[in-house]
């Protein structure tokens, strides 16, 4: 009695899928709404950081702990990854499977590099005795930057899965929709990082 719904098919170059139920429209809109909730969450973490940034309980302040060149490198890496991600979407829309995989793999590598740098900064701080238990300021720093890092990690897992899917199933319309969502997520994280860089590192150090 119940038939199967039509299977996903590959897109012709330059074609954008208009789903029978306009799934693209709903899903992408819904994802934007989710991103807004994520933004509120980061805003709360930023507010927490702003309130607690001077509560060092006698310990070192931001200026003594953070290295601007280091943070700037992280920023440039993440910005570049956003660029490769954007290029990846363009080539996905034009149907070029190999180029898409290459670009998203580059994004993945850059994202991993960013995360590695961040983890090394964290472990350096902790080994010096400036871990998250030291003061409210450090608690809020680790949480704000760490939450962003967790989001990046989740994005990398997502990216890995999608790359595998492109390899296996090609650029179907459902894969393209998921790539669009991922790229929205990735750009969003990049924007949040700009704020982190400005508010935590720049203002803290200068």
């Amino acid at each position: 009695m119940y038939c199967r719904p039509p299977k996903s098919r590959k897109l012709k170059p330059g074609e954008i899928q208009m789903d029978k139920h306009d799934n693209n429209d709903k899903t992408i809109f819904g994802f934007w709404v989710y991103l807004m909730t994520d933004l509120v969450m980061f805003a709360a973490l930023f507010a927490t950081f702003a309130v607690l940034r001077n509560n060092t309980f006698g310990g070192p302040q931001a200026g003594e702990l953070f290295s601007l060149p280091f943070a700037l490198s992280e920023t440039l890496i993440l910005l570049t990854s956003s660029f490769t991600c954007g290029l990846g979407i363009l080539s996905a829309r034009s149907g070029d499977k190999n180029k898409t995989i290459l670009l998203f793999a580059s994004t993945f590598v850059l994202g991993t590099a960013f995360l590695a740098m961040e983890l090394s900064e964290f472990s350096h701080l902790i080994s010096e005795g400036n871990g998250f238990q030291r003061s409210a300021f450090l608690s809020s720093f680790f949480t704000l930057v760490g939450t962003h890092g967790l989001h990046i990690a989740a994005g990398l897992v997502w990216m890995g899965i999608l790359i595998v899917r492109i390899l296996k199933r090609g650029l179907t319309d459902s894969v393209l929709r998921k790539l669009t969502l991922l790229s929205l997520f990735w750009h969003f994280l990049d924007i949040v990082w700009i704020f982190i860089f400005s508010i935590v590192y720049l203002i803290g150090v200068i």
Binding site: P5, K20, G30, V40, A44, N55, F57, Q133, S139, T143
Partner: protein, 659 residues
């Protein structure tokens, strides 16, 4: 080794106090009883296929209401224990509860009533009614809907789990103010249970908020512009805007508290630079909009009910929409009025006080619009309409108290007194709960296919309203007598005891009301054959849900209606439009059932449980399990099935010959 496997969990966590033993026993007996009934009637498969794995928002809505009703009893028993303790515990007598136990009870009472009863009942109503009212077949994201429901259930399970394992709930008040909720002052697992039951169900709420928002904005029937939507849809939309705006703040705040407790962070601790006032600000930035999340859909119900039972169009539609939007925006700007007494300074206090009173203006406009809907109407006093009148009688008085407390110097004298307690109970019971009762009695025939017994509904209403005033007016007086809230014991010389006893008597009357409501449902089920809703439109309704059969087919509408005006169904009836202009059915795509929601929520439950007891391996496993399930789900390309047009025609034809 044991510490690794079991974390902080030891045999001491098993129930050994009279109340944990009693609760564990009730849960076991209840669960066993249900299992026996299901086995006897051979209904396990039916339950799984028809209900638990369903993605139909009508089924999910009913399940929300069922679970919320069960939680209502627990919250109500908590309330009874509070009343009894406070009526007895004066002077030499110390009642029957220890101080710490009493504090856990009122904490649980508040959290259960807000998160698991009111939110659950409202989500149930919205799930069922909104798609019908906008002419849609489903929500935008059916999987998220079932996932959200099961996360809510997982949260409810966690908040009840401490009876079985742990023995202690948070004893901090319903919002677990820091630093009392920090590890130093609350060393047990109680606050951790608080955190994780609310985080888990809060995640469900957030998903539901996104879902409802996208549904209302993207899935309305052709022709239904925003300004043609029923008011219940408008208020649900605005409520969901608040949900997505502020629930992330709650997630963050509870997350930070957990980091403090679990990993030695210092956000809100009393040393190392922690700032407890930050907790207060964050939690109320969520907390105040939360109460508007609760009240707005109730206002929507009142709009529907008043129009239908006055047999007249809702007055001032545009004004009502503007008022709703105004309330939504203002809700985000007033949170500091919860802590005027923290010494913020006159400028800040005055600003927030003035913003708070401003909410009275759109609320008042709404009340006057409802009244002018009644004006020159022909009012039929069915139970839903009574609840509306009960709301007016109580809510306006509670609102008066609220406007009073919005003046900071007045608040200095009534903050944290029983005056405050009476005020917010008036708003939640008189406003939100009465609205839920109005909605449940209004839409009951649509959901069940037969009508409720009117007489019993009337009696239940009267018990509630008399009981409500008897319970809470003494509390207003007690507040002025200097009685603070949350006291497990007080001196006889204060003269408070007689008023506490009157209040306890009021609770007994309310309990009669609740019993009558249960009897009403039972009797109505027994008498259903005499009270069948054969037309689908028992109240001569105005909105689209009444254009379907009762109960509606699983696809809601065989043909999506085209809407030309407000009160779309009323217009159709006036123009004598047949419900289907042309018998041209099309294939319908419906979402399949899925058990993934249950599995993911089950894993999330394990994560919450594991974090409470510091069982790290289990938390990691649960997180992995949930993630993998979600990934598997995203790989599933065949989440829908097709109902061919011929099949639709058959179902519709079969109904027409029977009906």
């Amino acid at each position: 080794m044991m510490a690794f496997i079991f974390g902080k969990l030891t045999f001491a966590a098993l129930p050994h106090q009279w109340y944990t033993l009693g609760a564990t026993f009730s849960i076991a007996v209840g669960g066993l009883g249900i299992a026996v009934i299901l086995t006897y009637f051979k209904r396990w498969k039916w339950l799984w296929k028809e209900w638990l794995t369903s993605t139909d928002p009508k089924k999910i809505g009913v399940m929300y209401i069922v679970v919320s009703s069960v939680m209502f009893f627990r919250g109500g028993i908590d309330a009874g224990m509070i009343w009894l303790q406070q009526a007895l515990s004066a002077g030499g007598s110390h009642g029957f509860l220890t101080g710490s136990h009493f504090q856990q009870i009122f904490t649980a009472h508040g959290d259960i009533m807000v998160f698991f009863v009111t939110m659950g009942l409202l989500f149930g109503l919205i799930n069922y009614v909104v798609p019908l009212q906008i002419g849609a077949r489903d929500l935008a994201f059916p999987f998220l809907n079932t996932l959200g429901f099961w996360l809510y259930v997982a949260g409810a399970a966690l908040i009840n789990l401490f009876f079985v394992l742990g023995g202690d709930f948070a004893a901090t008040g319903w919002l677990a103010q820091a630093p009392l909720s920090e590890l130093q002052y609350s060393p047990g697992v109680g606050v951790d249970y608080w955190i994780w039951s609310l985080q888990v169900s809060g995640l469900g709420t957030l998903l539901g908020g996104i879902n409802f928002l996208v549904t209302i904005l993207k899935m309305r029937a052709p022709g239904m512009t925003l300004m043609k939507m029923p008011l219940f849809v408008w208020t649900s939309l605005c409520s969901m805007v608040l949900v997505i705006s502020v629930f992330p703040i709650l997630t963050v705040t509870m997350g930070l508290l957990f980091l403090d407790r679990f990993a030695g962070f210092h956000f809100f601790t009393t040393g190392f630079g922690g700032n407890a006032m930050l907790y207060t600000n964050l939690i109320w930035m969520w907390g105040h909009p939360e109460v508007y999340i609760l009240i707005l859909p109730a206002f929507g119900v009142y709009s529907e009910v008043v129009a239908t039972f006055s047999q007249k169009r809702l007055a001032g539609y545009v004004s009502m929409v503007c008022a709703t939007i105004a309330i939504t925006l203002l809700a985000l700007l007033v949170w500091l009025h919860h802590f005027f007494t923290m010494g913020a300074g006159a400028d800040v206090n005055a600003f927030f006080g003035m913003m708070t009173m401003v909410i009275a203006i759109p609320t008042g406009a709404q009340v006057f619009n409802w009244l002018s809907t009644m004006y020159k109407g022909r009012i039929r006093f069915f139970t839903p309409m009574r609840w509306f009148l009960g709301f007016i009688s109580t809510f306006t008085l509670g609102g008066m108290a609220g406007v009073m407390m919005a003046v900071p110097p007045i608040d200095f004298q009534v903050h944290n007194s029983l005056f405050l307690v009476a005020h917010f109970h008036t708003m939640v019971i008189g406003g939100a709960l009465f609205g839920i009762f109005a909605g449940l009695t209004y839409w009951f025939p649509k959901v069940m296919g037969f009508r409720l017994n009117e007489r019993l509904g009337r009696y239940a209403f009267w018990c509630w309203i008399v009981g409500f005033f008897t319970s809470f007016v003494p509390l207003y007086i007690l507040g002025f007598m200097g009685a603070t809230r949350r006291l497990d014991h007080y001196d006889v010389s204060t003269g408070w005891q007689p008023l506490f006893m009157v209040s306890a008597a009021g609770l007994v009357i309310i309990a009669c009301g609740v019993s009558l409501q249960i009897v009403q449902v039972v009797v109505s089920i027994k008498q259903r054959k005499q009270n069948l809703d054969t037309t689908g439109d028992p109240w001569n309704g105005r909105t689209l849900e009444w254009s379907t059969v009762s109960p509606p087919p699983f696809y809601n509408f065989a043909i999506i209606p085209k809407v030309a005006s407000r009160d779309a169904f009323w217009e159709m009836k006036q123009n004598k439009k047949s419900k289907q202009e042309k018998m041209q059915y099309e294939d319908i795509y419906m979402p399949k059932n899925t058990a993934m929601g249950i599995y993911v929520a089950g894993f999330v439950f394990l994560v919450g449980f594991a974090l409470v007891w510091h069982i790290i391996w289990l938390a990691v496993a649960g997180l992995l399990g949930a993630t993998i399930c979600v990934i598997i789900r995203t790989f599933d390309e065949e989440t829908e099935y097709v109902l061919p047009a011929a099949e639709v025609a058959k179902i519709e034809a079969g109904r027409n010959t029977n009906g």
